[in-house]
Amino acid sequence: MKQIKGINDFVVKFANVNGTGSASANHLFAKAIFRMGIPVSPRNIFPSNIQGLPTWYEVRVSKKGYLGRRGGVDMMVCVNPQSMEKDIASVEPGGYFLYDSTKPLANHMKRDDITILGVPLTEMCMREYTVPRLQQLLKNVVYVGAMAALLDIDFRVLKDLLNDQFKGKEKLISSNVHALEMGYQFAKENFQCPLPIRLERKGGNVAPHILEKPHILMNGNTAAALGAIYGGATVAAWYPITPSTSVVDAFAKYAERMRIDAGSGKKNFAIVQAEDELAAMGMVVGASWNGARAFTATSGPGLSLMSEFLGLAYFAEVPVVLIDVQRSGPSTGMPTRSQQSDILAAAYASHGDTKQVLLFPATPRECFDMTVQAFDLAERLQTPVIMMTDLDLGMNDWMSPPLEWDDNYEMDRGKVLDAEGLDSVEKWGRYLDVDGDGICYRTLPGTHPDKGAYFTRGSSKNEMAVYSESGEDYVQNVDRLLRKFETAKSYVPKPKTHPPIKVKKPKTDLKLGALFFGTSASPAYEAVEMLAPEGYPIDTMRIRAFPFHESLDRFIHDHDMVFVIEQNRDGQMRQLIMNECEIAPDRLTSVLNYSGTPITARTIAHQIRQALKTKSAEIVPLKRETA
């Protein structure tokens, strides 16, 4: 049997039962690798219940720093009999399978093309511990210990992590360390250690850009919450829903630390758990109308429920910041799985002619930056700004360069007239487009005794904010809203391109391009790097906002065949591009995954290869002016 080999470059997956304490043990494993300076990206694949169902934790180790999923499993650690049959079957040939051998492996599951490593976890723990809870919990730590031996994890690092985690609780630390050692010992004694797949402390093969700065390990929801803190949000109204709940949880945690008025001990923020998403969005609308920076976070079903209010905010021009942490499917779908499938629902949220501003962060760092920016944009543009993240980004830990903050940052509160401002303008009308950019001057309640009061409404009005059913007033108003949307293009984050990969002998004359956004980006870059040596040079552009920047149009026009990589069934981003950039559909080829688990580099590469095989012949290269 040929065993899979690799230093700092493999995929390990843990199969557990949820509610049994595996999450923290698995986290310990991933964090140890991170502390060793080796690029790692862990993913929790968990069921939509609280206890007793199969749950997985996939850890990718990638010296080159690929943080997206690669596809395939090199080593499976399975302590869940419910899922074992499928789990063992999913291991790559030449891979490794560690399981709880207290109960022997059923014959029909056995494979001889992989290395099977039995550790009698239950037995060991039954022997060692008497409290049932400890028997269950420490089983997880034991296999981490075994993995430490098998993969060469620095044992010190593991101990340090336990010390950090249980600071002050000596007893817990020692029992955990003991369990670790038990596993370690067992592996050393029974298996070839380390395995052909293994780790090596930083240096060696690790991509230099990862080593440049001391990275952090954090999830997107926490980063977004910090963005809300730094962006000056004072009102958060929300309704619990997976996978967005931890955005507000983290906001609360940081706010309790950083937003308490020193003198009075009172809070410089308000968090309200609303009765549902309609109310959450209503509170944000009310607070923003009244001049506070306010936000909410939700997921699909909440977005649907918010759509009437999003239409109001669009039409009445009230700033709103909404963080949509996308999950799988229409309706309840798969609430604990990831997708990028709310694009159209968000872009055109609500009835009537509406267009909403969207942001697409791809990393925790961007979740932080873009949340701050979302508040600036919402106030600058006086309209909802929806940050489209997803479960994969929001709830999983990502290696990220540290967050950065420029102390010179000033909030952009947009065109708001204060009392002085009102006194200084000759004529004020809430919807007078004085500057020609479609953005008018707003006023806040309570500002001026005589001037600037107006009635905000979701019904039609004239430039002076007086109720109007005149067709001309209506048209003038919604045309201005379109103009404002044009203006938005110059404010929102621009797409990112990377220098193209040089390909020695290209196998095609076509100019190839790939478009993607959010969590599809990491595996997309990796797929592009996979395809380059195969003779397919692909230029990339990562979309970061809607409305689209004109460089997107140019990118598409500069390429003969453009792949749009996204995680939904209907190719929603592709449709949005077609609609808004007036692009011919045959220019854009969808690369899709919507299974609920994040798209992998292999899937992308595979679909692109297929498309090149079947479609490229039909495409006539565009004539381009040579610059």
């Binding site: 309200v272 509170m283 009310g286 109308w289 009437e308 950065e404 102390d407 009061a453 979701g458």
Partner: protein, 349 residues
């Protein structure tokens, strides 16, 4: 279309403590039907704000959708207003109040807006005890969509087309008392003498103040058979009058022993309640509820201040909110800066 009323400021119009005349509290000319109860409520709000000398621009008006929810256009033209979406004003009001705790919030809604589509938000608004005055112009029907029964329409009330309502009407006042509202009143748009002091007291109250105002719809629900017509309402009215003495004023009037009860609000204002039935207790939730239910069973429409807890904890307190309005806080108070972020980064390694 709505016309801004020309302001003929009569030099001899009496001014309030701030020097404003009642005209300073006017809004645009009403586009409601002539005789609509809602216009009387608008006038009562205008007068109450004038009498209580609240600077117009320090008031914010919020409403949902409906004839009633249009009202804020027709009073307080110097105040900002927000005509939001149908039934969801409570959430907008909550958000607004959190953003700036220093303004006076007046919410205006209809029975359709509150008791049907808005029911969930209404109950949760009460539960949070948001510091605002919430007025329902209750006509038992959907005026703006042409007269359908609302959820407050009484069992057996006959619609204009002749249909008899087969459902028990929801009594918003009882509901508010049960759900823990800190100020609950009921009134009648035709009873200015009672409505104005109630509104003044409601605005002075710290916490959620609810006033359910029977306000006949002359176009769709003012016929014989309707239980919310002017005639029916007048005939069954059982009004408990009251006076409102603002904090600053001295209490001068003397009342006969036993007929009057004084309630002091949080800000020092005093409400004098003149009760026909001196057994009525505004300070005991269970007793108040029972009396209201009793009157209901007897077919009387009990109006006046039904329940008051002057010392309840409002949302600003529950949340331990800073005394400075949140919308006034700037970068210095809000943004922890780069050093803190560095230490956060450290914690994530």
């Amino acid at each position: 279309m709505s016309y801004i009323k020309p302001k003929f400021r009569h030099p001899r119009l009496p001014a309030n403590r701030l020097g404003f005349t009642v005209a300073d509290y006017d809004g645009a000319i009403s586009t409601l039907c002539a005789g609509c109860g809602h216009d009387s409520i608008s006038a009562a709000i205008r007068n109450a704000c004038f009498e209580s000398s609240i600077p117009p621009h320090r008031i914010a008006k919020v409403s949902g959708i409906g004839c009633s929810s249009k009202m804020p256009t027709y009073f307080l033209g110097k105040s900002h207003g927000f005509n939001s979406v149908h039934g969801r004003m409570p959430s907008v009001a909550t958000g607004a109040s959190l953003a700036n705790r220093d303004l006076t919030y007046i919410g205006v809604s209809g029975d359709g807006d509150t008791a049907s589509i808005g029911m969930g938000q209404f109950i949760h608004l009460i539960r949070r005890n948001v510091n605002m005055t919430y007025i329902v112009a209750n006509n038992g029907c959907y005026g703006l969509t042409k007269g359908q029964d609302s959820a407050t329409a009484d069992l057996g009330s006959v619609a204009k087309g002749g249909a008899v309502n087969p459902f028990e009407g929801i009594d918003l006042a009882s509901l508010a008392i049960l759900q823990g509202a800190s100020f609950v009143a009921r009134s009648f748009s035709g009873d200015k003498g009672q409505l104005e002091p109630l509104i003044r007291a409601a605005m002075a109250h710290k916490g959620f103040a609810f006033i359910d105002v029977v306000s006949p719809c002359v176009t769709f629900n003012n016929h014989v058979g309707s239980t919310k017509s002017y005639t029916e309402t007048r005939e069954h009215l059982d009004a408990m009058p009251l006076d409102f003495v603002p904090m600053r004023d001295e209490i001068t009037t003397q009342y006969a022993e036993g007929t009057t009860q004084n309630v002091t609000l949080h800000d020092g204002s005093v409400i004098h309640l003149h009760k026909a039935d001196s057994s009525y207790r505004t300070d005991d939730r269970r007793a108040a509820m029972d009396s209201v239910q009793q009157a209901d069973e007897d077919g009387r429409i009990l109006t006046g201040l039904l329940f008051l807890d002057p010392d309840s904890q409002d949302l600003n307190q529950s949340l331990n909110l800073a005394t400075r309005p949140l919308n006034e806080l700037g970068k210095d108070e809000l943004c922890p800066g780069s050093k803190v972020l560095k230490s956060i980064n450290e914690g994530l390694r």
